[in-house]
């Protein structure tokens, strides 16, 4: 740039601009990150000091059956949510995209509405929908199962149902992303394909799908990261039960820290979860990019 400035003054101005963020970041993010690492090597209670115990928390974690159970459950939950919600959202977006004018806005608004509800509102509504005695969906369940099912008390139903509630809640967001992606596809590509005599199916496979792939990657990645950190719905719907069939890692952190007063051990679990989330999301992102390039 042509204008010559006093670099010192410049740095001061820059510092004043970044200061609010950097200071808050240092206080509530960087320092706690350092603390959680430090705590994971101690036997501290939640509040108060503990002794340095080296890697003991990590060894303990390795032999903690509940930890493996919760990882497994979270994995199962990913399977039940990530790809299904992506597929469902894509389908809905294609449908909405075909609609015209006011109808399109209305249908889109209705699809999106659940997303803006607080999670506890979502769980209250679904607890009522699926209530064992009076739930409006029990006749539907009876149709398939022969009997009503107390879904959040049943080891086989609990995870799929939490997944269903979750998909219902977050799906609208994904629909929006796909619609944005569809709108970005230039019209003339479809026209060209139509001139070539491509069928609707071919148009989708040759134009829509490849051009939508980056959005699909985005949706899959966002969902994966989000659902790896599931806590709220499980806590509110099943508390991890019955017999731990819906226990998830963050619930374990909560229980150890806030119910059992094991601040050090909880920190170790939190760190391991953190590393897992990081590794999985990086791996998935790379993998999807490779698939997309092919």
């Amino acid at each position: 740039m042509a204008v010559i400035r006093n670099p010192r003054k410049n740095a001061l101005i820059a510092a004043s601009l970044v200061a609010p963020f950097v200071l808050t970041f240092a206080l509530v993010f960087a320092y706690p990150t350092f603390q959680v690492i430090r705590l994971s090597f101690t036997d501290s209670p939640l509040i108060g000091d503990g002794e340095w115990i080296g890697l003991d928390n990590y060894w303990r974690l390795l032999s903690d059956r509940l930890f493996y159970t919760s990882l497994w459950n979270n994995g199962y939950f990913l399977l039940l949510t990530v790809v299904p919600t992506t597929a469902l959202a894509l389908g809905m977006a294609l449908l909405v995209n075909k609609l015209k004018g006011r109808w399109q806005a209305l249908v889109l608004a209705l699809f999106f509405l659940p997303y803006i509800l607080p999670v506890s509102v979502v769980t209250e509504i679904w607890t009522w929908m699926l209530d064992f005695q009076f739930g409006i969906l029990q006749p539907v369940i009876t149709l398939f199962n022969g009997d009503p099912v107390a879904v959040f008390r049943n080891p086989y139903w609990v995870m799929p149902m939490i997944a269903l509630v979750t998909v219902w809640w977050v799906n609208g967001f994904n629909v929006l992303l796909f619609i944005a992606g569809l709108r970005n596809i230039p019209r003339d590509l479809y026209e060209a394909a139509a001139l070539d005599g491509a069928t609707a199916r071919q148009r989708f496979l040759r134009v829509t799908w490849p051009l939508l792939w980056p959005i699909t990657v985005l949706v899959l990645t966002l969902q994966l990261i989000l659902q790896l950190k599931i806590f709220d719905q499980v806590y509110l719907l099943s508390q991890g039960g019955p017999f731990n069939t819906s226990y998830v890692p963050l619930l374990l952190v909560y229980r150890e820290a806030f119910q059992l007063n094991e601040g050090g051990y909880a920190s170790a679990i939190a760190l391991v979860i953190f590393v897992i989330i990081l590794v999985v999301s990086v791996l998935q992102f790379q993998l999807l990019r490779i698939v997309g390039r092919r």
Binding site: P45, G48, F132, R153, P155, G241, P242, F243, Q259, N261
Partner: protein, 424 residues
């Protein structure tokens, strides 16, 4: 909750109008909802009216794990209440966590109480092993068998006065349920089958009627106690398989099954007495009801029981002596006035009230008051009590076993290992 809060505020405002008195604000947390909550709110209201110098600011939190989690966390960060309700069954665990402040002789004097005002057993339960007091007992509460007189009419199970009769063994009780089903009743016995607390209360009652002991010299379910526990679960599972109890039913729904006249029997805590009394008073209960001590189904009498108590959290910052004196005034007053609390079905821990003619004449309490002689408390251990690892185990293992997802034997084996590991 909030109605009562606005009354409290109104009372507080009223006192502001009177000449300037330094008013002590006492922050109170409890877990009392339903009929209990209404009775306690009335008591607090009366206390505030009678004490212009003290104002109780009360909050009700969710019973069980959420309540005790918040108590622990808030106390640790110095944000706890000035006074809280606490279960005596949980005192060993609380002492282990160090959340209870010692109640000194001076404190008791400020409350106008002595340990002799209470039953010895309650005081022992509220004290640490070396005998220092950490809570002031308030009541003894237990489970009873509620019954619907109208639905039992015409069966052999009502005597000439309309009282329950002929229930003296498991066989007779089960025969009664079977007969009711024959007559078209869908779920003769309602209890909250999905609720860990209720399931535990039923389980522990059956178990103790067999003479079972959960912990013997630090060993969980030692000797044939494990077999007795298995037997208790088998009975509960059978009730479910026969359709005698509603499946997977949450607490409120289980109460509704009884009050709506669907289930003639209801196994629940005495704290639901006010629900029945209130519904009957407002004409919303379409039948005549009664409540009796749980019959000796397994050979001998015995009933799960626990006690509510008042306690002061142990925080780093010691409480201002004047505030502490005010808190003790509250506790003393509550003990003296526990007759009103007895209306919520409980048996007062304060002897002069429990032994008063007024209490002895109170119904239905008088009908089941004898159960106090054979109650079975939780074992005195840091793994037992409300919201303890024992409750976790019930939720995680006994409830699924009753539901048939695991066998009773598997559940008990697992429970034995899980809990044993936690005993140091």
């Amino acid at each position: 909750m909030s109605v009562f809060r606005s009354i409290v505020t109104a009372a507080a405002l009223a006192t502001v109008a009177t000449p300037a008195l330094a008013q002590q604000e006492v922050v109170w947390w409890d877990f009392l909802s339903g009929g209990d909550g209404v009775r306690m709110a009335a008591l607090i209201d009366r206390f505030n009216e009678e004490h212009p110098d003290i104002n109780i600011d009360a909050t009700t939190l969710e019973w069980g794990v959420p309540f005790y989690t918040r108590i622990r966390t808030s106390t640790a960060v110095g944000e706890g209440p000035d006074i809280m309700t606490y279960h005596l069954s949980r005192v060993p665990l609380a002492l282990d966590e160090g959340v209870l402040s010692e109640i000194t002789a001076e404190d008791l004097a400020n409350a106008g109480l002595t340990t002799n005002d209470f039953y010895e057993r309650s005081i022992a339960a509220a004290s640490s092993d070396d005998g220092t007091l950490h809570a002031v007992p308030f009541d003894v509460h237990s489970v009873v068998l509620y019954y619907n007189r109208d639905m039992l009419e015409g069966t052999n199970y009502l005597d000439a006065d309309g009282n329950l009769t002929g229930m003296d063994s498991l066989e007779s009780f089960e025969a009664a349920m079977a007969a009711l089903v024959e007559n078209g009743v869908t779920e003769p016995l309602s209890y909250a089958t999905a609720d860990a607390g209720t399931t535990y209360r039923v389980f522990y009652t059956l178990f103790s009627q067999m003479g079972g002991e959960l912990i013997t010299d630090g060993e969980v379910l030692a000797g044939d106690n494990a077999d007795k526990a298995v037997q208790a679960i088998e009975i509960m599972a059978r009730w479910r398989e026969n359709g005698w109890v509603p499946e997977q039913t949450e607490y409120p729904a289980s109460v509704a099954l009884f009050t709506s006249g669907r289930s003639p029997f209801h196994w629940n805590g005495v704290w639901e007495v006010p629900t029945m009394t209130d519904l009957a008073a407002s004409g919303e209960l379409s039948f005549d009801w009664g409540a009796v001590q749980i019959p000796a189904l397994m050979g001998q009498l015995g009933t799960w029981a626990d006690s509510h108590a008042f306690a002061i959290p142990q925080e780093d910052q010691p409480m201002d002596p004047e505030k502490r004196a005010a808190v003790m005034t509250v506790i003393g007053w509550m003990s003296q006035n526990s007759l009103s609390w007895a209306e919520a079905g409980h048996v007062p821990a304060f002897r002069s009230v429990a032994e008063s003619d007024d209490f002895r004449a109170m119904e239905p309490n008088a009908t089941y008051a004898a159960l106090v002689e054979t109650v079975a408390y939780d074992p005195r251990s840091q793994i037992a009590g409300v919201a303890s690892p024992l409750y976790d185990a019930v939720q995680n293992l006994i409830v699924p076993a009753v539901d048939g997802f695991v066998t009773p034997q598997q559940a008990i084996d697992q429970m034995k290992t899980d809990l044993q590991r936690l005993i140091r």
